[in-house]
């Protein structure tokens, strides 16, 4: 049988189509990318939060809950409302259901009121990592504190050691759970669910190792602070205009 030019083009075209469908199929099924497409050593993740931009809508809590199937009454992220009346030593703080549905209107006539989004501070010198008896919780090379669910004993020593109250025991897996900074997303080049859904851009995922990341300008031009600096945890969540009353 004679093979014509037409036959070659026809078979070649079909092969090309199959190959392209194959590639698309891989993308559709969410198959893992080649290991060298994301270099952990090239990143050092954190977050910047602009207190003045947060409107307490709770979109971030909602998005986080949906994205990560967070069990009811537990929180990987939440928002607190601070109301600091004049002459009152302790601020009034509330976070109804972690503010997943936002806040009811305040009845207080406060001197000042503001919202503070909270999440795992992805500490570089993390007390939770230090105390884990089997090393199930660890800091990844790109600076995210993660828990190996197949290794965690569920002893909850890390929950006690976290100064920020960011950890909980997952009621179904009986292992400790916490914010992963949406690791499954950020390693794919996406931002976190909470940052993506913040309508005012109050929260922003940052990469300290990327010289072009806006975090460098943010840290240069603003007065920033981390939560509980006396704990010396190397927290990597920076707050702009953080009030001294925030705990």
């Amino acid at each position: 049988m004679e093979i014509t030019r037409r036959d070659i083009l026809s078979v070649g075209g079909k092969l090309l189509m199959i190959a392209s469908v194959g590639a698309t199929f891989e993308q559709i099924t969410g198959a893992k990318p080649p290991p060298d497409s994301y270099r952990m050593a090239s990143h050092w993740w954190g977050m910047i939060i602009d207190i003045d931009k947060c409107i307490g809508c709770g979109n971030c809590v909602h998005a986080c809950s949906n994205e990560n199937q967070v069990p009811k009454d537990y929180f990987r992220t939440w928002v607190e409302r601070y109301e600091v009346p004049e002459g009152y030593v302790n601020p009034r703080v509330s976070s109804p259901q972690g503010a997943i549905d936002g806040f009811p209107p305040s009845k207080q006539t406060s001197l000042k009121s503001f919202f503070v989004p909270k999440l795992c501070n992805q500490c570089a010198d993390s007390p939770c990592v230090q105390v884990c008896p089997v090393g199930a919780t660890f800091v990844s090379p790109d600076g995210v504190v993660l828990v190996d669910q197949d290794y965690c004993l569920g002893c909850r020593y890390c929950v006690q050691a976290c100064p920020y109250g960011c950890r909980y025991l997952h009621p179904e897996t009986e292992t400790v759970d916490k914010c992963t900074l949406c690791y499954h997303r950020i390693t794919q080049g996406l931002t976190t669910a909470c940052c993506e859904n913040c309508p005012t851009g109050a929260r922003q995922l940052v990469d300290f190792k990327n010289p072009n990341d806006p975090v460098h300008e943010f840290l240069r031009n603003n007065k920033v602070a981390v939560l509980k600096p006396n704990m010396a945890t190397g927290a990597k969540v920076y707050y702009k205009n953080l009030d001294g009353s925030v705990r």
């Binding site: 509330s94 976070s95 007390p127 105390v131 089997v134 965690c152 002893c155 020593y157 109250g165 704990m231």
Partner: protein, 389 residues
């Protein structure tokens, strides 16, 4: 408004993570360390008066040490993974290292010392008993049937060396439990360098009180007279240890009050409200001041024997309640306040859950069952000795 919560708690803090079983854990290990230290008084420091309680103290320590890991196992979300602490320990974790301290204490110190102390008895019992018991005793000899004077002298020398190693090991065992709590910088109720030393002395207090109670109860059950010289000596050591323990706890309290750092208002409020009954009433008044007064009275005045017995039983029983309350106040108290220092939660003991009251009661009865079996298997007293008393 969340039920049981006053003020503001971080949302994940509302539920307590360490429950009643974690209260039992330091309580039980404390009894182990205290009982062993009492045993070492006779062996190393040659306090002959406490000889009748030497073996009893060792068996008490073993009975409680065998139960010590059980509350932790029941508490774990994945107890089947707990062995990972031995195979892949995280070296910076106080909890991981405790596994090794426990194993060291159980195998190198306690089991070895008991075996050396009882070896000649075990050989004798292996020869005199029949049937299944004979098999058990033969197994317990570990094939070492030589009870010649020379062999017994070696037993004694090695036993002495093990006790000498055992004293710092007992200190390490319970001091380390204190360190597990004291090294948590996030929790100001726990985070104090005094915690290991406070735990250690309270352990000695509870262990000594437990052995004295068990000794008096055993004598009562066997209808043998109590060796009052022994009871008086133990009560004297209990008093001295208790004074140091109370001083350390008061030092901690005074220091906190005088410093009044950012956590003080919150902790002070907690002690005056949620912990009032367990801390002030049970731990300080009922569990410390009254037994201390009873023991002090015995150092100052000479009471009749019958009165002394009642005073010792009362003082020791209250001491046990006080030390249990202390463990409760540390473990549960440390989780009742928010790390934001702006609110408080409540702890209610479940009844029939894995970490509930029934499980806790069963775990507290288990050492006594083990103790009973151990006493039957390895009698801690010789008839002649008891009659002498």
């Amino acid at each position: 408004m969340i039920p049981g919560v006053d003020g503001f708690m971080y949302p994940n803090e509302v539920e307590l993570q360490w429950s009643l079983l974690i209260v039992l854990y330091p309580f039980v290990t404390g009894l182990v360390a205290g009982a062993f230290i009492l045993a070492s008084l006779e062996r190393v420091f040659k306090v002959d008066a406490v000889r009748p309680t030497y073996r009893l103290a060792l068996l008490t320590a073993l009975a409680f040490l065998l139960v010590a890991p059980l509350p932790l196992q029941l508490h774990l979300g994945h107890p089947e993974r707990s062995f990972e602490m031995y195979t892949t320990p995280h070296r910076s974790s106080a909890m991981a290292m405790f596994g090794f301290v426990y194993l060291w204490y159980l195998t190198v110190v306690l089991l070895l010392e008991i075996w050396l102390e009882y070896r000649s008895d075990i050989v004798r019992l292996a020869e005199s008993s029949k049937g299944f018991l004979r098999l058990v005793y033969r197994a317990l000899t570990l094939g070492s049937m030589n009870v010649s004077p020379d062999a017994l002298r070696i037993d004694d020398k090695v036993g002495y060396a093990v006790t000498v190693i055992g004293i710092p090991s007992a200190f390490l065992l319970h001091g380390y439990v204190g360190f597990i709590f004291g090294s948590i910088k996030a929790n100001p109720w726990w985070s104090t360098p005094l915690m290991p030393i406070v735990f250690l002395f309270s352990a000695m207090v509870s262990g000594i009180a437990a052995v004295l109670l068990l000794y008096m109860a055993s004598m009562k059950l066997k209808k043998w007279p109590i060796d009052m010289r022994c009871a008086d000596t133990i009560a004297k050591y209990l008093f001295y240890t208790f004074v140091i323990d109370f001083t350390l706890e008061m030092l901690d309290l005074i220091h906190r009050t005088y410093e009044s750092d950012e956590s003080f208002r919150s902790l002070d409020f907690m002690v005056h409200t949620r912990l009032w009954y367990s801390h002030v009433v049970l731990q300080i008044c009922l569990g410390t001041v009254i037994p201390l007064a009873l023991l002090a009275a015995n150092q100052l005045w000479k009471f009749r024997e019958a009165k002394r017995r009642v005073m010792y039983v009362t003082a020791c029983s209250l001491t046990m309640i006080g030390i249990f309350a202390m463990r409760w106040n540390v473990v549960i108290g440390g989780q009742l306040f928010s790390k934001s220092f702006l609110g408080y939660t409540t702890y209610k003991v479940d009844l029939v859950t894995r970490e509930g009251l029934l499980a806790a009661i069963a775990l507290m009865l288990l050492p006594f069952v083990i103790f009973f079996v151990l006493v039957k298997l390895l009698p801690p007293w010789q008839e002649s000795e008891a009659h002498k008393a």
